[in-house]
Symmetry: C2
Subunit: 343 residues, 2 copies
């Protein structure tokens, strides 16, 4: 007497609505109604169905549901690196908004690699996320055109999209850097170094622009040796800082172009006897205790704003793509208020 079960399902061996229906002695559609809370089922019938669901350990297969309904209630987020303390809060903010809209969030890190960004974004599209939030690693997003045309709501955050017209949410990188450098100038500095990420990265470019603008505002020339863009690993940054701080005309202040640069800069400056002023872009944990003056951007607000925009679109809003720029804020904690040393 072999137990001739239905052919092995690939989901381990999960019961389906059909199984539940058979067990409860009702039709398939009735089970569907109960599971989805649709009206038109007798309390008694519903009870029998619920019992069968419980007994079988049934859980609706959302993959099948998606196939039929066309909406996944899932949004994707492609960011640079979840291990970077800047992106955790951003991701979390997106998640909270998604949750409020009954959606789930799928995350992926591009590791700052344009190819990987594309691969990830398209994989998410293949899974038919309803919407996509992208923190660009690359500068060309035309590969997303078919997806956007097909209805995938898309918002770019932190850096603008390349080659397509889309919603973008940014921090005021230019204005923030300008204000930070102006702050140093106001405290008497004339030779100010600028260290930031690789020049291909939008935020680095914008912050450099802000730096130059502030210097120009103050009528100060910028020596080539004062500007260093490149990878933000500690070695490279320490070396760049070391170079600017030595020689006959060393800088008396540094502007650090992002959180990782700031951290390394703090370490480098901690080992010096001559005080050097420092302002960093991005707030960092414990910066208050270390007395580091920063230009803070609100990562959570970036994420929230982007997500809200995304869901507004998903709910049918038909506005033209827009760029939203969020303010930054200077937090003076001491390191930016150090006067120039020597002459």
């Amino acid at each position: 007497m072999a137990d001739i079960a239905r052919p092995e399902s690939r989901y381990g061996n999960r019961p389906t609505m059909k199984d539940v229906a058979a067990r409860a002695g009702v039709g398939l559609k009735t089970v569907s109604r109960v599971v989805n809370g649709e009206p038109g089922v007798t309390p008694d019938t519903e009870h029998r169905v619920r019992e069968a669901i419980e007994a079988l350990g049934f859980r609706r297969n959302d993959s099948a549901r998606v196939l039929r309904k066309g909406r996944t209630a899932t949004v994707g987020l492609v960011l640079e690196d979840l291990a970077d303390p800047f992106y955790g809060p951003l991701s979390r903010a997106v998640e909270e908004v998604a949750r409020a809209h009954g959606a789930l969030l799928v995350n992926g890190s591009s590791a700052e690699d344009p190819e990987r960004e594309q691969e990830l974004a398209l994989a998410l599209c293949a899974r038919r996320v309803d919407g996509l939030i992208v923190i660009p690693a690359g500068g060309d997003h035309r590969y997303l055109e078919p997806e956007i045309r097909a209805g995938v709501a898309t918002v770019f955050v932190d850096r603008p999209a390349g080659g397509i017209d889309a919603d973008v949410v940014l921090s005021d990188n230019f204005g923030g850097a300008r204000a930070g450098v102006a702050h140093l100038v106001a405290h008497g500095h004339r030779r100010i170094g600028f260290i930031a990420d690789r020049p291909g990265i939008h935020t680095a470019k914008e912050r450099l622009r802000g730096y130059r603008a502030a210097m120009e505002d103050a009528g100060l020339d910028v020596a080539d040796a004062w500007v260093s863009l490149g990878p933000t690993d500690p070695e490279r940054v320490a070396e760049a800082a070391g170079a600017m701080l030595s020689g006959p005309e060393p800088v008396t202040a540094l502007f650090a172009g992002n959180n990782r640069v700031t951290v390394t800069a703090v370490r480098v400056l901690a080992g010096r006897e001559r005080p050097v002023a420092l302002v960093g872009f991005d707030d960092i944990e414990l910066a208050d205790l270390l007395g580091v003056t920063v230009i803070a951007q609100d990562a959570a607000a970036l994420g929230r704003t982007a997500a809200e925009r995304l869901f507004r679109r998903l709910e049918g809003a038909d506005e033209a793509p827009a760029t939203v720029v969020l303010d930054t804020r200077l937090i003076a904690r001491g390191s930016g208020e150090v006067p120039p040393a020597g002459g």
Copy 2:
């Protein structure tokens, strides 16, 4: 002459393999073969298919594929809070392993709420993730039994599962705390305070156990006033620390039970004239500059280990569920080596 297109699909209006087949003048299966890189297609045919794909902007619908194949190549991660710097690296490590196995990662935060954890985990199961990594918020995981039986590989990280037999990857919370407190004892401290998370949380309990063990090892009694478990918001922690540090017999050292407690403790102690020793559980950014002695656990290793275990199971390994405990490491940076003040 109305353009009688196929009925509006719900995916915006995405082309399907059928559309591609029609356009390329081939059969559906041929398109499938090309898309999936299966052999047995003439270069010429393949070329025509690729052209049609390009022209139509076709992208395979993985939802449909999943329905057929039964595997989603997606794993879920339920953690506490992505904005917590401890979980970013953990999540990233899981992601890297998933990526190496061709899988995508879906993240969700439970916000330390057991109900939300369950809701999230089950939502992921409904989407038929192949596997699940859970950082428990709650203490009862029997709700996952049907899922695990149905074949969802499941690994718990950072805290053990409740009520079910499953793979678990933990840090040595007990041993780490014991070593940290022993370190303080070795530097002459007799009155040592312990501040940690709520007592319902496994890591807090274990670390408290380690604290008590170290004190007992040293033949020291523990006054009730020296132990404070509760929420880790700055106000609560500052108050607890303040209480322990005042009175006739104040503690001369603090053991901070997690990263958030440590941060607040550093702030509180920075405002004191009398030096108080501090060892914190979890390393924190810039702790080196602040000279904070910590018991470091390797968040990335936790994630990696859990993910590797998960994928080994997904690849058919049939080992019994096991608990893996990862070592912690004491990093002396100064704050833990301060001798007791006064008498």
